[in-house]
Amino acid sequence: MANSSKPAILVTGAAGALAQQVINRLRDDFHLVAVDFREQVYLGDDVPSYCIDFNKRVFEDLFRRYDFEGIIHLGRIMSSQETRMRRYNANVLGSQKLLDLAHKYGIHRVVILSTYHVYGATAYNPALIDEQAPLKSAGLSMDLIDSVELENLANIYLWRYPDLNITLLRPCNIVGPGVRNSISTLLASRRAPVLAGFSPMMQFIHIDDMADAIVLAYRKSHRGVFNVAPDDWIAYQHALDLSGCRRVPIPSIPPSLPRTIARLLGLKSFPSYLMSFFKYPVIIDGRAFRDTFGFKPKRPLKEIFRYYRENKHPV
């Protein structure tokens, strides 16, 4: 309420590095309100920050207090965090609550962050998967089911309530300073596991570019589902090499063996449900987003890997 002349935006997942980048890019033009259900973060005096569970009734008070113009929903719990049930509650039911409130309070711009994991990694994946492709992850891993469900939900609201102007983004691997996902942890480690004989093609986007993409998606209102990925590709094992990681091969057949090894060793960054992503490529086609929004990533792959080579955390 501090500055009512600026339109207000609700940003979720505020504790994450990506949300903070987005907030920094938008804070001059908008009145931002940050929410996270994990922790309360301080984002400066001009950005009110809350720690609220979307499924609690007090969440609606935010909508009463601030006259939101839009929502940037980045607060998806990653598959490596929490239990399956808590993830489902937060990602699916929480997001539904958020979208219901968005509709009730006449919000007319919503950007939702999803992930390329929804496509699922299989040996039969073609390269350059576009947005129309089926979301196979649902049939492959129960641990990614909440990501696919969130997508389905967003799609239902996208078509049922066109006035919400929902844009759903499916980025490739987001990496860079501050990112805490599995792939970033692997690139930042001194030794990283690989499946012997498999080095799937991968795509990486720098967190700064991804923040730019989200801001662009918010400002240029185009409804729909979009992949976000640069036109550049690299094999996983080569990426580890360039990031200065020593590769530790794990036997890859039969498929249950690497899963058991990863579970026994407690490799957090190499979880069993992502195993097929380290085996088979999931290359997405980012051309629709590039052409619709005029998006061009600025940080090349070499720069990304140089960062990881120079910033190693002890394992």
Partner: protein, 271 residues
């Protein structure tokens, strides 16, 4: 990575290096494309293929200049010989031609990506999973794509069925029509004699999850191979029923059959 550079230093000459670099390939900043082709591995593969092509199989290629230098192309050939040797030889013939060479992409069986090391190596050499989406995206990318419409029906056939064309799938014709791709028929003569198979051991193939397990000599025989590239064929994108598409496929098949017959009649001896 170091092993790759080592092999590359040993095998790849400077002139070959320059030649591969000159060929147009839509690669990213680190030398890969979305399907996983890798420039340095390609050079190693090229230098190995050179010896296999000229020394072992003593390939005689005719009409390779018929393949257009630009735009989407489908190279349609007969498949034979248990292993995809014919694909490698066709690819090398086009990649090594003097006038405006191209790196064609071969569509491979769905079984290969599941095999450790082999799947990755094939991808780095330019082979791609034989999925219609892959083929469509490549044609949109102006690539030349090698397709064996017989699929495993062709490569797994027994020696007694040699040079008999099996049923052709219609998929390639639909794609050629949709993407306005030039179809170049190719007749391959000689690959049937590289690994002559007497029988197919079906129960073992089923147990191992393989398309077939041939009862054959355990090595590749040095047959002399003839590649006959036919005249380019063009098909419009008319909205026609499937039977008309089949008729168009039959035209291509007849052309390939004719090219095979030419090769067989010119052939003096098997090895």
């Amino acid at each position: 990575m170091s092993l790759r550079s080592f092999i590359k230093d040993k095998l790849v000459s400077q002139s070959l290096d320059d030649q591969i670099n000159r060929i147009r390939k839509p690669l990213g900043s680190l030398g890969y494309d979305p399907w996983g082709i890798h420039n340095d591995t390609l050079k190693i593969g090229f230098s190995v293929a050179q010896k296999v092509y000229s020394k072992y199989f003593r390939v005689e290629a005719e009409g390779v200049e018929n393949v257009p230098a630009e735009g989407p192309v489908l190279l349609i050939a007969n498949h034979s010989g248990q292993l995809p040797i014919d694909g490698i030889l066709i690819a090398f013939a086009l990649a090594s031609r003097q006038d405006r060479p191209r790196i064609p992409r071969a569509m491979i069986e769905r079984f290969f990506p599941t095999v450790p090391y082999v799947g990755n190596m094939l991808n780095q050499l330019g082979a791609v999973l034989g999925d219609p989406v892959n083929c469509a995206k490549m044609l949109a990318n102006d690539e030349a794509v090698i397709v064996f419409p017989e699929g495993i029906r062709g490569s797994g056939k027994l020696y007694r069925d040699r040079y008999q064309l099996k049923r052709f799938g219609n998929g390639f014709m639909r794609l050629a029509m949709q993407y306005n791709a030039t179809v170049v028929p190719v007749g391959v003569v000689g690959c049937e004699e590289t690994i002559p198979a007497l029988a197919n051991f079906r129960p073992l193939a089923k147990a191992l999850g393989l398309p077939y397990v041939p009862v054959a000599v355990p090595f590749v025989l040095p047959a002399k191979v003839y590649l006959k590239f036919g005249k380019p064929m063009y098909f419009d994108n008319a909205d026609i029923p499937e039977e008309k598409v089949t008729e168009r496929v039959e035209v291509v098949k007849a052309e390939i059959s004719e090219l095979i017959n030419q090769g067989l009649s010119e052939r003096k001896r098997l090895f």
